[in-house]
Symmetry: C2
Subunit: 143 residues, 2 copies
DNA sequence: ATAATTAGTTAGCTAAGCTAATTAACACGC
DNA sequence: GCGTGTTAATTAGCTTAGCTAACTAATTAT
């Protein structure tokens, strides 16, 4: 084992994730939302309301970039900017019901193909995928 | 189980993959190559030489976009454009040795953190990840 | 031989990223 | 409580990456 088993597995997991998302991205058409906006909205929906700064950090983007994305989401009625409770410099940015609905519809479409494929797997394979997902989530939380 | 087990697992896998790649992306600094160029180069390195059309399709991008990216990779000495053997309209685009080396260095850096984490897992967990990666690769190839 | 198609490029636009500079509000230190 | 420094967000202005439309050159089909 030249490179170490851990390295090899890390490579395979990375590669599998890359290819999976690349493939699913093909179904992102319609919904009329660009990838960056859709991703930011997703953070709002699943991570709850937050400041612009935090949202920018979550998306690994600078504040001015996020400022513009949020302005556009707001113009489309998908997010709101309200005053922050404790800090009048800051914003509380939240997804609207319309934003949540749109995102959910897009997610469904995106996951449709994968769901169909997963349905064809054996019970054992399902278990493996579920466990692997749990392990990865844990690693992601570790940092 | 409201949504079906397959659906739920598809969701978890999707979410885990999204978060994993988002996290690893943080280590993409340096190497001086933008994400689209790095990704295109990766396709050339791992998929071998190919036409502009095929490369554009692999990257889910239109021909003019890829034309420019390839021109820039070529200017940086990371890829070459040569005549296609059978079709004088077409190009054979290939990574150079320099391109391969640069990409490999970036990949190593990106995978370093994940490798360290994977090293901390139990033998059983390693096996689960390896199997899950294999299953996903198979699904990806199915289409 | 001519017509239709295909591969790639060029031109010109929009979207999304960045840094630098600005404004307003907060937080200290005295 | 007041000045100094810091922080949150925005604005301005630039670059990169995506698109479509229009073009050239080569291939394929009639």
């Amino acid at each position: 084992m030249k490179k170490g088993e851990a390295h090899q597995i890390a490579e395979r997991v990375h590669s599998a994730a890359l290819r999976l998302l690349r493939r699913l991205r093909r179904y992102d058409f319609a919904m009329g939302l660009s990838a960056p906006k859709s991703s930011a909205l997703s953070v709002l929906v699943f991570g709850g309301p937050q400041t612009l700064k935090d949202l920018a950090a979550a998306e690994q983007v600078r504040a001015p970039t996020m400022s513009r994305l949020v302005a556009e989401l707001e113009a489309d009625g998908l997010a709101t900017k309200t005053e922050h409770a404790n800090d009048r410099r800051a914003l509380k940015i939240a997804a609207t019901a319309k934003g949540r609905a749109l995102l959910e519809a897009g997610r469904e479409r995106r996951l449709e193909v994968l769901t169909k494929q997963v349905e064809g797997l054996s019970a054992d394979e399902l278990k493996v995928l579920a466990r692997a997902a749990a392990i990865l989530v844990r690693l992601n939380e570790e940092g």
